[in-house]
Amino acid sequence: MKIQTVDRELSIKTEKLSKRFGQFTAVNEITFDVHKGEIFGFLGANGAGKTTAMRMLCGLSTPTSGKAQIAGFDVYKHTEDIKRNIGYMSQKFSLYEDLTVLENIRFFGGIYGLSNQQLKTKSEQLITQLGIQQEAKKLVSSLPLGWKQKLSFSVAVLHEPEIVFLDEPTGGVDPVTRRQFWNLIYEASDRGITIFVTTHYMDEAEYCNRISIMVDGKIEALDTPANLKQRFNASSMDDVFYQLARGAQRTEG
C-alpha cells in the first residue's frame, strides 16, 4: 500500500515505521493514523519505545525504515517543514531557566516567525490565561514545576501548530494542576490543534479520543477507551493496560 501524497484529513500517518539501534529494535513496524483535531493518547510501559517513536515523528530522529507523514510532510525529506507545523514538549523541562517567562515566550515566538504585534498579543493572552501576571518578569527557574509545565505547553502551541507532541507532560505534577493542564489541552484541541500525548496516568488516557498501547516496540491495541475496555472485558483503562503490558519483555530503556 502506498501513502497518498497529501491527506489533509490526517495529521499523522505512519506505515511500518521502525527504529533500530544496532541489534536493538526500539520501534518495530508501527502503523497508525491520527486524525486532524484528535486527542491521541500514546501509551506504553517504560522502555516500550514511545519516546523514540515520538522523536521520529517530530523530525528529531531519522527512522530506520517504514514511512510516515506528519502534517502532510515526509519524515525523511521534509523534516524542517514538519518542524514549522508542530509543537513539542519534551519529558525534560526545556525552556530557558535563566530567562524570564516573557523572554522565553518572546524567544520561541520569534524563532517561529511571529510578528512583533503577534508576540505582544500572544504574550498577554498567554499570561492572562495561565494567571501568572505576577510572575511574568521572574526567571523561569523560580517557578514551581506545575507552572513550568503549563508554560511549556503554552509555548509549544504559541505558533498555532497543526500538531503538538507532548511527552509525559504531567509527570510529577499534582492532581489539581493536572486537571488545569488538561483544560489547556482541550482548549488547544478546540482550536483544531491535533494533540499527540504520552502518559502513564490511566485517568488521563480516558480523556483521549483514541489511544494506542505500545508493548516492546509494537502497537498492541488502538481504539477508543470505551471500545478497548469492552474488548478486554475490563472495568478500567488500568486493567486494559495491565493485561497488555504484563507480557512485556522490556522494562527499562
Partner: protein, 372 residues
C-alpha cells in the same frame, strides 16, 4: 535576519545574567596581565653557587666577590674540597660548583694561564645553561682585567679581537614584560573564546533546551551565528580591557595601527570560537568539552611561540605550529604592538586565520545535527 536578532537577544541576556562570566570579563585580563609578565621572566637570578677553593688567595677572593656582586649568584657554600661542594649539589643546595685549583694565583701571574672548573646541576635546564653562561662571562671579564693590569702592553695586540656591540631594536632594554604582554593578550582571547564557546552548546545539551531548539524550524547556520556573535563581541571587549591594562601598567602603547590590530584579533576570534563550537558539537557533557578544550589549549599556548620561539623548535614541531591558530595571533600581535607592522606585513597572518575561521565554523555547522 529576524531569527538572529532573537537569538542574540537571548544569548546576551544569558551571558550578562551569568555572574561568573561577568566577573571573568574583568578579572581575567587584569590578573593575567599583571601576574604572568612579572612572574614569567627569563632572567635567572638567585643561582646558588658553591665554591671549592683549593687556593685561598686574594685573587680568588676578588673573583668570588665579583661573582656575588653581579646579583645573579648567591654563595651557598665555600669549601676546601670538590667533594663537599658536590654534596651540596646532591642536596639541591647548590646549582653550580666553581672549583678553583691550588696555586691559582701563582700560576695566573707567572704562567699567564690557569684553568677553572665549573660543574652544573642540569636538572633545571634554563638555570643551568644561563648560570653557566653568566659565570663564564664574569670570569672572562675578570680575566681581561687581570691581563690589562699585569701584562705589559705590546704595540699591537698579539691576538686579534673582534668587539661586538649589539642593539636591541623594538625592545631596547630587552624588557621581558614588553615581550610577554602582546602574547598574553593573544592567550587571553584564546582562553575566553575557546572555553566559553566550547561549553555553551554543550550546556544546552545538558539542560535539554537544545531539543526544544532542534524541533523548531531554525536554520543551523543561524543558530551557530547566534552563538558566535555574542562571544565575538565579548572577546573583543576583553582584548580592549587588556590593551588598556597594558598601557596603564607597562606603558605599552601599540606602535602600529589599532585597526590592523583589531582586524587580526577579530578574525582570530572567529577561528577560535568556531573551534570551540566544533568541539561542543562533538561532546555531550560540559566535562568532556572542558577536557578536550584543555588538551588543545595546552598545545595552543605551549606550541604557539609565547614562551619558546617557534624558530627554535624541531622541524616537525614547526609543521604542527602551522596548524596552531594561536601562533599566528601571538606573532601578529607582537609585530603590530611592538614593531608597528602594517596591514601589508600581517596580511599573511590574517589570510591564514580567515581560512581557519571558515573551515572551523563550516565544520561546526555541518557537524551540528538537528536530526540524529
Amino acid at each position: 535576519m529576524r531569527t538572529i536578532k532573537f537569538l542574540l537577544q537571548k544569548e546576551f541576556r544569558q551571558i550578562l545574567r551569568n555572574k561568573t562570566i561577568r566577573g571573568m570579563i574583568f578579572i581575567m585580563p587584569v590578573i593575567q596581565l599583571i601576574i604572568i609578565p612579572l612572574a614569567a621572566d627569563y632572567e635567572v637570578k638567585n643561582i646558588n653557587i658553591s665554591v671549592a677553593d683549593h687556593d685561598h688567595s686574594s685573587y680568588t677572593q676578588k673573583l668570588i666577590s665579583r661573582i656575588t656582586a653581579s646579583g645573579y649568584f648567591r654563595l651557598t657554600g665555600y669549601t676546601a674540597s670538590f667533594k663537599e661542594a658536590f654534596q651540596q649539589i646532591e642536596q639541591d643546595e647548590a646549582d653550580l660548583i666553581l672549583e678553583i685549583p691550588a696555586g691559582f694565583e701563582k700560576d695566573l701571574i707567572r704562567g699567564n694561564e690557569q684553568k677553572l672548573f665549573i660543574a652544573i646541576n642540569a636538572i633545571n635546564g634554563v638555570k643551568a645553561s644561563l648560570g653557566g653562561a653568566y659565570l663564564s662571562t664574569i670570569i672572562r671579564n675578570y680575566n681581561d682585567e687581570i691581563r690589562v693590569a699585569l701584562i705589559q702592553p705590546s704595540r699591537y695586540n698579539n691576538v686579534p679581537t673582534i668587539e661586538i656591540a649589539s642593539a636591541n631594536w623594538f625592545n631596547p632594554e630587552m624588557n621581558y614584560h614588553v615581550f610577554m604582554v602582546p602574547g598574553i593578550l593573544a592567550i587571553l582571547v584564546t582562553m575566553v573564546g575557546g572555553f566559553l564557546s566550547a561549553l555553551n552548546i554543550v550546556k544546552e545539551k545538558e539542560s535539554g533546551t537544545i531539543e526544544q531548539i532542534n524541533v523548531t524550524p531554525i536554520r543551523k547556520h543561524h543558530f551557530i551565528i547566534g552563538k558566535l556573535i555574542p562571544f565575538w563581541i565579548l572577546g573583543n571587549l576583553i582584548f580592549t580591557i587588556g590593551l588598556v591594562i597594558a598601557w596603564l601598567i607597562y606603558g605599552i602603547i601599540p606602535q602600529g595601527n589599532l585597526a590592523v590590530l583589531y582586524t587580526c584579533t577579530s578574525v582570530y576570534l572567529l577561528a577560535i570560537l568556531g573551534f570551540g563550537l566544533l568541539i561542543s558539537t562533538f561532546c555531550d557533557t560540559q566535562q568532556q568539552a572542558m577536557l578536550i578544550m584543555f588538551f588543545f589549549m595546552m598545545i595552543f599556548i605551549l606550541m604557539g611561540g609565547l614562551y619558546t620561539t617557534i624558530d627554535s623548535m624541531p622541524a616537525w614541531a614547526k609543521v604542527v605550529s602551522q596548524f596552531n591558530p594561536a601562533s599566528y595571533l601571538i606573532e601578529a600581535a607582537r609585530m603590530v604592538i611592538l614593531k608597528g607592522s602594517r596591514l601589508r606585513d600581517v596580511l599573511p597572518h590574517i589570510i591564514k586565520l580567515s581560512m581557519f575561521a571558515i573551515a572551523l565554523n563550516g565544520w561546526a555547522i555541518y557537524n551540528y545535527k538537528k536530526t540524529s
